[in-house]
Structures are given as structure tokens and as C-alpha cells.
Amino acid sequence: MKLNETIIFRRDGEGALLYNPEDGTLTRVNATGVFIWRCLGAGLGEDEIVSKFESALGDKAPADLRGEVQKFLGMLAGKGFLFGFSGESVEMPMVSLDATSSSIGSASRPLYELRSFQRVFVPGDALVLEERAFESFVPGDIVAFYPKGRGEAGIVHRMIGRDTNGLITMGENNDSQDSHRVTEDDEPHLVVARIRPDGVRLDTRNGRSGMRQFRWNRFRRCVRCFGARLVNPLLPLMFWRCVPEESVAIGDGVQYYHNRKLIAVRSPAGVEFIPIWNKFRFRIDD
């Protein structure tokens, strides 16, 4: 486990304030939380933290000490304060337009990454979620859900149907529909809008309109795939392709530039050329 090194730790009485500049959330932890935070900072693992607690508390240690520690670590992982925690994360960060609760940290937004919703969202978009009754989801709705075991990393896919096991979902840019059926336990939320990195809010298309957008995007994908099948075998013959002049690493990805223009973006999902015909001019070596 590793603490997120961008988190700012500030003592506040017996407890401490933890501030994450990446999403602006501020959380207060009590003295026990400070103790665990310091242990994590010293590089201790979960077992070592529990045994240190046991030796510090002696007979006063609660019966489910490990469970309590795990819960706290899960909360830290859920807020993005801790990396590499294998247990279950808690407290998903999301915005709920109708929420009236004022829990600290709930104001951060989930961010869209990867490519399953290419041409609907752009990586880096913040998604605005709205709570909905499970029964009220209709085909075409864009649904954000959090399957167990994925920690805070949620999935945003389009609902394309419903069966007895739950909602059938699929990414616009994926090969097939999801094998996982979304149930109420996955805490599905409706994505009502996206907020571009420059702060502009744009409503998403849900319901019947969303389904039309889905069909259109699937058609465009078919055309792209067909074109790629024809062209890709010829790419090695295009001797004029050159490597972009410069690259900038951002997070897990790399952006490639040529003449100060963005050429391609490498993400964990692969390389994407911007626009697509740049692949005839440039090559990105592995």
C-alpha cells in the first residue's frame, strides 16, 4: 500500500485534515486516523498496523480491530488517498444533484477515462450523476455503476435492455455487451451531464434519444472497423510515416506532438490518433 503523495496532511487538534488538491476534497480524521496515516506513511502494511494497534491498546482493543482498520483503509482508498489497497473501497466519489446530505468529500466528481464511450465523452470529462429508482432506468440511459470488487473505479455504459438478472449494458465502442448485469447492489446512477475540462456543462442524451445516438455510434464504429481492416495491413508499406517530434507523459498516458499539434494519445487502452488519418502520416513505436 502506498499513500497518495499529493495529499496534504495538516494537524487539526487531536485529528488532522487531509486535503486532496486534485479534486478539492477535504476530510477530517480523528486521532486513530492520524495514527493509521502515520503508520502508512512509515510504509507499514495492514497486518503491521493491526499488530501495532493491538500492542498500543492492549485489552482495550475492539474485538473486530482488523475490520475497523480495513474499513478505514477502504475509506482512504475510496477517496483516492491510498493506492494498492486490496480490500473493498468505500464511499464512492460522486455528485448527486438531488442529494441533500452534506457528507464531506461527496462533492468530487467521477471522471471519464479510457475509450468505451468515445465520441460521447472525452477522457477527462467530469460526469454529473443523478440518483434514480432502479425501475425507472430505460434503454438508452447512460448508467454509472460500481460493481463489487472494482474499488472506486466505476463503469459508465449505456443501458440497452433489461432482463430478469438486471440491466443489460454496453459501451458504445466495445465489441460486445457486458456479461455483468447491473443490479441495485451496483448502485446505478444516471449520467445526466458531462462537464468539459474547461468547465462547460453539456447534457447527455438518455432514453429514446440516447438509443438513437447509440445506434448511430455503432454504425460509425462498424464503418471504422471495416476501414481499419482494409488499411491496417498496408500500414507497414507506408514508408513516409515518421515518429512525432515530442511526447508528454500525463498520468498513465502519453501525448505525442508534431509541429506543436497533438497527433496521438497513448492510454492503457492503446494508441489513438487524433484525427484518425494521422495514422497515415505518423507511427508510434511500442
Binding site: 499529493t6 496534504i8 476534497t25 474547461d198 456543462r201 508528454v248 506543436r260
Partner: protein, 283 residues
Amino acid sequence: MARELVIRLELSGGESLHLGARGRRACRSLHDLSVMIDSRCVSAPLDSCGSILFDGELRSEYTGLPRRGGVARTGMSSDGRFAVLTNGSYLPYQSGEWPMMLRLVMLSGLSRGQSIFPVHGALLETGGGHGVLLFGRSGIGKTTTVSRYRAAGGVCRSDDFNLCQWDGRNLIVYPMPTCSYYCVNWTPQLRYSYSPGVVIDGLWWLQRGDRESVVRAPEHEWLAALAHAISFHWIWVFRSLPAKPKREFGERVLDLALTLKAAFAPESLLASLDGDIMDVFRR
């Protein structure tokens, strides 16, 4: 239009912020801002600016800010100044270039010890150069509250972006244009009176309630909401920064939030659509 443009935002206590642009498109974006807030263009060298918007080349580039249709790349020189290189394919009126520049110029000032920062919130003016600043998370009803306040005869010059200056005793707020409105519905008639600044008497955390009232808020939650309001316009910049400056700026933001916590009582406006918002000011 000039190919180089500098505008100066006068603040209280003789302080000021300089924003500069080089290139036709960048100048045009900055010119839009100066028209909207009725600030003066000044003849000053670009080197005097805390933040420069470029169309052209950038020397000390280190990161990219993702934007629609490409990226804007930023660099920071050794003295802590920022510069933005805009992507040539970008449409000027959808780019939000000047908001980015404003954010960066304040960040640049922060690194030099200035206490000038953006706050995401609504400025409700109560008269005589005083007012209250309303903050809260997106979707909670700030714009609705502003509409109700205006409908009841109140004055509100900004409902999104506020340039705040802490001079050690007073928090002075200068209204700035609503970023999203500018980007989507820009018209040449849009006007936001930048000056005079408003002295803030209360920082109210907006929440929904059954009855319109101002109540004491839980201290830590109020502080968390305030820290988020201060971070809101900087989050996208912070995310693109390397770890070290990200931490340094984060420390400064937390300092600002704690300073304001010490200076203001944690109060919350419980807004109710059935109530009369002017009641809370009459009391």
C-alpha cells in the same frame, strides 16, 4: 487589433494582476474579457504578466491541459509564471481561454505570496459595498438562489467565478464572468462590472432547507465546502501539474481556507423555494 495585449486588473491596496496575450486569436480572447469586465488595456511589456496566453511557441513547456479538440499546453518559468499555448484548431468562443489564464495568473500570484484566489460561488450584494459570498457544490441551487435574489430586487454581479483578495483584515471580492455562459452563449453585449470590489460580511454555505434561514454550520463540513469552492476553478490545473508544485499549491489553498475559517463564522444559508430570500437579510 494589436498582436500583443496586456490588461491590468486593479485590486485594493495597490495590488494588481496583469494578463497578457500574444497573437491575434489570444489577443481577441483577452480583449473579450477586458470588454466584458470593462477593464483597461495597458501598455506594459508581456514580461510583467503573471500569465501569458500564446498562439505561438512556448519555451518551458512541461504539461498539457486536456481541452475539446486538443490540448492547451502550459509551461512555468523559474519565477513561477505560467504561460498557455493554445491549440491552433480551437474555436475562440468555445475555448474558455481567458478563464484558464485568470486561473493561472492567480496561481502564479499565489506562488509569490499573493492572497488572490478564485472562489466558485455567487456574490450577493447587500449595499454600501458589502455583500455575502454563497458557495456550495454544483447543482445545489446557487443559480436558482441568485435568480430569486435578483427577482426580489437584490444585486448579484457574479454567480460562478469570483476573484477574491484577502488583505489580512477583509475579504474583497471582484465579480468575474460566468465561464460556462461565456463559452456557450457569448454575445458582445455580455457585461460584468468588475469594479468596485465588494467587502464580504459572510461566507454562506448553501444548503437546502424547509425554511429560509441562516444557521450555524458544522465547522468541518463548512470548511470542506469552502476548500472545495476555492479549489473548484483550479482543479483542472492542479491535475496537470507535477507532484511537487501540486503539493505546494495545495498547501497554499488549505492555508487560505483555514485563514478564512479563522476570520468568518461558519454559516449556512438554508434555501427554500417557498421562502422569501430577502427575509434573511432583513433579520
